[in-house]
Symmetry: C2
Subunit: 343 residues, 2 copies
Amino acid sequence: MQIDDRKYRILMAIIDDYIMTAMPVGSRTISKKQAIGGLSSATIRNEMSDLEELGFLDQPHTSAGRIPSSKAYRLYVEQLLRGAHRLPPEEARQLRVHFDRRARQVEDVILGAAQAISDVTRYTAVVTLPKAQAMHIRRIQLVPVAENTALLLVVTDLGIIKDTVIQVDGQLTPDHLHEISNMLTEQLSGLSMDQTRERMMEISGAFAARRHTLKGILDAVEEVGQGPKDIMVGGRANLLHYPEYSDAEKARAVLAVLETRDKLLRLMQAAPQMAFTIRIGDETGMPETSGCSVVSMTYRIGDETAGTIGVIGPTRMQYARVIPVLDYMGKALGELLSDQETR
Amino acid sequence: MQIDDRKYRILMAIIDDYIMTAMPVGSRTISKKQAIGGLSSATIRNEMSDLEELGFLDQPHTSAGRIPSSKAYRLYVEQLLRGAHRLPPEEARQLRVHFDRRARQVEDVILGAAQAISDVTRYTAVVTLPKAQAMHIRRIQLVPVAENTALLLVVTDLGIIKDTVIQVDGQLTPDHLHEISNMLTEQLSGLSMDQTRERMMEISGAFAARRHTLKGILDAVEEVGQGPKDIMVGGRANLLHYPEYSDAEKARAVLAVLETRDKLLRLMQAAPQMAFTIRIGDETGMPETSGCSVVSMTYRIGDETAGTIGVIGPTRMQYARVIPVLDYMGKALGELLSDQETR
DNA sequence: ATTAGCACTCGACCGTTTAGAGTGCTAACA
DNA sequence: TGTTAGCACTCTAAACGGTCGAGTGCTAAT
């Protein structure tokens, strides 16, 4: 058996209805809809029965309506993703209101974005900080703090991405450090993080005298790319709006995932192109989030993939609203950060 | 009527029982306890009736047992606070295991503390970052980033507490900025933030030539003390362990408070001495947290009150465990940060 | 191919019953 | 006078049975 156009339209109608009501959908409900074109409930029943056989619908028990399966949502979102992701102007306005552009620190911008997304969608939003690789060195600065130690700063267009205390050769005065800072800045400014590392290697070879100090700096620069990416979460409380999480234990498990950075990162991994990654139910690959869906996409700074923004909620998610919101916000965030970059 | 010793002991027994079970406590349950000394359930009933009249107990309905009122918890914690807050060695060990001292950034230390507290107590923990006033200036550094702009860093013993881009006079070269940095550092290093502000005023008068630049720095330093204090929360998911939050709406409200910085700050305000502040039920002064208790205390860096650590959970909280944990952790945190300070 | 009709299923809801935990009161007791 | 055994009473939670209604699957007619 094949899924034909009518089955498809009926399936979509069921999904739409279930997304709104969270209640199993009956044949009469669907037959009453205009869009289906006046088929009787009996016909719908036959079609539903077929759709169930095809694996698109589940029946909680014999005399209840049907609910969409993961496979159905999959079809649903594939369809959505083929379309344009135009955010209605009113929604865009709301999003802009919530997303306060006056924030100065990248952390604040990211947190603001997460909160805006969660406020507008009423789901929980997750946004990663831009990864170091997407930034460009603006300055390297050694700030003396004590005999033998200095604060090393790696400053990029987006601010300080690394500050750490390193050991420096004993005989280096503050002025020496200043000099080294200038030299490094001259050598490295404008480079991407990857280029920086390479160039550092070369320099490190050339200045054997300052070996010890340069090694410390090199190590710190190495570390920049590695460190666990920081993540901001907004609207955790939104989870509890949905009946799927009225079971406290279920809600607890999801909330716990939101508090565990690596699990969260795994959940948010998105395909590197500017496109959506949607994980539905078990596709999250984590038992804790079995009834959940995650929609995520990358945002860019310039041409570089910089981070991920996403939303987590019940599989019965309003994908049709979430996708345009993320699309809009991803672009807005990318532009805002690129602006900061050139400022 | 007065509360005599026997009534008091009975009340404490009821509270202890209720804290463990979350179920209304009946007279027979209490009469079976050794500690009360073999009184019959009838006697206990009479006493319970008195305790209810005195406002220490409530009765959900006629034929249920009694539950402690806020007034009862108040009495209970006052008693606890009078005693010593000795943390059992096993608990201390656990706490140390969870509290990873190798963290370098203050943020990580604070977050680690929040997580450790929440893991050990199974409640939600809240820890504020140390306030700027408790730190001492180590260095002021201007890092050139572009024509006319520089990155201003205020470095203290605990790391960078302020980094912001300011406008500087156009003719200032990187070397000039370096010079100014050295001058300011010499003038200010070792001072507390409050002293710093005063001294800045004086300097600002003396160097009329650099007026514009110094004004920018002064403003930034002014801001340091004002900025909204940052807060870290650990173990949000723990909330949902307790039946008092099995109502999703109730849980949502509390979770929402945990996501609103000013509400959280208000909740965490603690008396400035090294002592506990305990808010029980409505004492939190916030309708959202009506069924909650908050235990908080300040921690110190050196002699200075630096921040607050606390725990939030149901009024039926294991105060007797929470108090020693906070006490221990407050001291540990203070010591750790003081150590960093002098490092 | 569609649909009206009908028997059937099953959870939700309601009123009733029952069991049990707990109370308050009274009268007896030390 | 304080304590307690005893008992009637209260109220909830759980179990039970009946009814309702939403929904299905199937069949036969169109």
